[in-house]
Point group: C2
DNA sequence: CTGAAAGCGCTTACAG
DNA sequence: CTGAAAGCGCTTACAG
């Protein structure tokens, strides 16, 4: 039933040349006279011939395909931020003529899965890969980079690892935390809590340190009781704050959440406990999630540009694949305070 | 730098067997004694050997990869519904051990792009493909199906086309429109307008016909002046309603939008014109978009289960790829009325 | 400028 | 149960 029976031998025969010449035409080699080129092209057009993909790869050509690996233990269908990260990346790559091979990794401890991911690189199914949601020191990623593959990573920083095939995209967490704390301080808050993100991810500790530094710069004390451990999910925001409320002795006047999803969860927990935001306690997020302007109260947050980030990531990755150089590339996205309704002056 | 130098010849040599036997072990053929199998497996494990992907395809094996083609003339990064469709599909496929090769098609009239999509099938980069956002009669899709490829399509219905390699997933548009009109009628609305979707897409005319049929069943007249043409985007909802308001003589008491995105746009246009929803006019959507419960007023809508749909689509497509049969498969998702605040009794 | 031939790394009849 | 060999369809030195 399916038939793409025509191959380069047939094309060569019909055009009255050799396969070598057909190949030269296909690949736009310069050493083919225009007349020959035209003759061959015409046959190619006529028979709608296109060279077999696998055969080309077997002879060492590039795949023009990028692997996109999303690490997420949980279902991701309803997480609009992750979704737009994925789609945004595919969109950028598509615009540059690349296909994206996406796979979701549930568990980075499952050696079978790890094996399959590495095979994707080994078998030349992809020219390079991108990881989203990985721990900062994920061994899988470090191995791939050590082996010379081009790897893009969102949210990673490892001191002194500056290989040219390591393409990093982060946001300015220090800057963002400072903008948030500056704003809260300007509203006269001095007792500020922080919901911390996943300590294994780069931005978890980075945001926590940024928070502490920003507090110090205002001469404000960081109360360890008000550092609430969580990860980056809405659910963890809810659970952590709920549990924290059950034992905390004295409340801060404001809480800074490591991201907006966590803030949504925190908001639900606070409201459930009968606390009004921002009446009783101010709440600030980070990311400027799609929903943040829609919820009640609209969430004050730190805006970051995910669309630009994934676009930059795709472009740099492709550039590194096509023209490898010796230069290490690292993108740090800017952050911007967006004032809405969830924080009030006291 | 990159090295996966070991191949089946080496493995065979080290294990003291032939490549044929190595291949038999890899592919789990029954005619290999356990002792031989163990011996070979041990060498494979030891050298972390994995057979070259392209070479396997060249010898006729499956790719375990599905193509996902999203047709969208516009940027899709901020469209959370499309995003979750894509991610949901990838998620389902991943769970079944398949990779998804995604590409975004900006323009189905660009023959260069069309060519590349078809090549993806011809070159056996994928075992089957899925199209989202296609016109009901998209020739590209019909050609691929005619050539025997397994193709999944969201939102298509062509009378009499029941090939077993055509995997269709729709929602019950008739049923949904009826539920919506029934509800509006129960609120005593008799003058109901409709914002129609893209006429080239299957669900565009289907919803319009469903609307008319439902109106008839209540003995209500359909005023042609209140049928507002649009496509399925928020922007078109806004523009169409804005323009419509500028010339419509008399307003209906309720408007049914072909989907929630369009309803969001319509809502903005109505509010801009000083009309209050639902005070002055009731508004009803379709899809139960992630945002519908969050906006002001929360949008009454027809709920459909996209997550289940893409999951079903992935499963059926994979089943059709792996065990082709003679049976035509068509999924029709159920619809359910979700009452919120945007419609009032009159 | 161009062709014959090697090489890429598998799988699978075929023969034993 | 197992191996030698053909075949998949390209690209690219190599030689002319």
């Amino acid at each position: 039933m399916k038939k793409n029976e025509i191959n380069s031998i047939e094309i060569a025969r019909i055009a009255g040349v050799s396969r070598s010449t057909v190949s030269r035409v296909i690949n736009n080699y310069p050493n083919v006279p225009q007349a020959t080129r035209d003759k061959v092209m015409q046959v190619i057009e006529q028979y709608k011939y296109s060279p077999n993909f696998s055969a080309r790869i077997m002879s060492g050509m590039k795949t023009r395909t990028i692997g996109l690996f999303l690490i997420s233990p949980e279902e991701v269908f309803h997480d609009s931020l992750t979704n737009s990260l994925i789609t945004g990346f595919i969109e950028s790559a598509s615009n540059q003529g690349y296909y994206v091979l996406t796979h979701i990794i549930r568990n980075t401890r499952d050696s079978e899965v790890l094996r399959k991911v590495k095979e994707t690189f080994y078998q030349q199914r992809i020219d390079g890969g991108v990881f989203i949601g990985a721990a900062n020191h994920e061994p899988l990623i470090e191995e791939l980079i050590a082996e010379g593959y081009v790897v893009g990573i969102i949210d990673q920083h490892i001191e002194g690892r500056n290989e040219p095939n390591r393409v990093i995209c982060n946001f300015g967490n220090d800057q963002g935390m400072k903008q948030g704390v500056d704003y809260l301080a300007s509203l006269n808050h001095r007792r500020i809590g922080f919901i911390a993100g996943d300590p294994l991810r780069c931005s978890g500790p980075e945001k926590l340190e940024g928070f502490k530094a920003a507090m110090r710069s205002h001469g404000l004390a960081v109360n360890p009781e008000w550092i609430i451990p969580a990860d980056f999910s809405e659910k963890s925001g809810y659970n952590s704050v709920k549990q924290w409320l059950s034992h905390v002795k004295e409340l801060p006047t404001a809480i800074f959440a490591c991201n907006d999803s966590v803030a949504f969860g925190a908001l639900a927990a606070l409201q459930e406990a009968g606390l009004c935001v921002p009446g009783d306690i101010s709440l600030m997020g980070f990311d400027d999630h799609l929903l943040s302007s829609r919820i009640q109260p609209a969430l004050t947050s730190i805006h970051v540009d995910f669309a630009e980030m994934v676009d930059t990531l795709a472009s740099r990755l492709i550039k590194t694949i096509e023209e490898p150089d010796k230069e290490f590339k690292k993108y740090v996205g800017t952050t911007e305070l967006v004032i809405r309704e969830s924080c009030r002056a006291i």
